[in-house]
């Protein structure tokens, strides 16, 4: 086919308006659906902790805030990456750095103020060997929906977009998992939640590089 013929064909097809599409308009519904799905999966699978008590505890909100901060930084990095020529969001990277620094400071404070006999409990809790994997599992459906929402857009750096989607999915999954998990120390969250969410971002980059091709 000659290029001029192709252009002719495309031009006549161009009579259909194709108004600018906001990445957020596709990502937000996908994220909400993903969270609902993950919450449903969690309540069927592990159930939830007594929430009336949990929401009065600082540690419940500490975990939620940390995870949501990671999810938001993932979102901020994801959105511009879904458009050709979009830059890496400096705000998103800054948010990510602040979230990590915040949890590190909290974990450090708790660690130094606790007696050495409590350290293993502080860092390992009761579920260190399960937590990262559970977060990763809960992140999977959210990630799938995010990728589904992103596919009609046009990411040109697939690894970056995939990692950002993985980070966002992991953060949301961590927040969802908080409805079950009764671990309450900052060192635990800093280590094992971060590991689960980080795994989600890393896998997201690998998988995204394939799924997001167009």
């Amino acid at each position: 086919m000659k290029t001029s013929e192709l252009i002719g064909a495309l031009a006549s097809a161009g009579g259909e308006p194709s108004p600018p599409r906001r990445p957020l308009a596709r990502i937000a519904p996908a994220a909400i659906a993903g969270v609902v799905l993950a919450l449903a999966a969690l309540s069927l699978w592990l159930g939830m902790q007594p929430l009336a008590a949990a929401i009065r505890a600082d540690w419940f909100w500490m975990k939620a805030a940390y995870c949501l901060a990671l999810a938001v930084s993932g979102l901020l990095i994801l959105l511009p990456s879904l458009r050709p020529g979009g830059r890496i969001s400096a705000v998103g990277l800054a948010a990510l750095a602040m979230a990590l620094a915040g949890i590190a400071v909290m974990a450090g404070q708790e660690w130094v103020s606790a007696p050495a006999t409590l350290w293993p409990k502080l860092w390992l809790g009761d579920s260190w060997d399960l937590c990262p994997w559970r977060i990763l599992l809960l992140a999977a459906p959210i990630y799938a929906l995010l990728i589904g929402g992103a596919r009609p857009l046009a990411p040109t750096r697939l690894g970056l977009a995939g990692a950002a989607a993985g980070l966002m999915a992991g953060g949301l999954a961590g927040a969802v998992y908080g409805f079950y998990c009764q671990e309450h120390t900052a060192p635990f969250v800093a280590l094992w939640y971060s590991l689960g969410i980080g795994l989600s971002a890393a896998l997201g980059a690998l998988v995204g590089a394939r799924l997001l091709r167009w």
């Binding site: 290029t3 108004p19 990445p23 046009a154």
Partner: protein, 168 residues
Amino acid sequence: MVASQAGDSDAHGRLLVRLAGHLRAYFARRLRGADDVEDLVQETLLAVHLKRATYDPSYRFAPWAFAIARYKLVDRYRRRGGRVSLPLESATDLLASDNPEEGAVRRDVAKLLAKLPERQQRLMRDVKLQGYSMDEAAARAGISVTAAKVAVHRSMKRLMREVFDEDL
């Protein structure tokens, strides 16, 4: 492009024709076979058409379109299993990696250079096209080496802006 998004098929056609020319030049610099070049031009035009909703009118058009071109180029290498790393293109390699013997390219370069003040033009020609060293070029222009460096740097910045601001 804004008109294209609104569904003006004439404007859409004109945009694609103009873009095709720029894309042909872009791919010709990066690929050998003419068939490959035309293939990628077509693929990119198709992608620009299909993904036109992802263009945000509050940004410039050229970076958007060439990000797609670059993506298609990388995608092709990836499919072929080759390993390449493409630096983000800048006007520097538009000037530096071109074979100045090619008539079309030479005309483009001349047109671009004409936008600079005369002294900078001469300096740029000496340093970037004729291959004089910075010392030699400074001596030819009768200025200090530092001044020559500054002038070349400024000229490059200016040209870079010209290349990317040229709205398609």
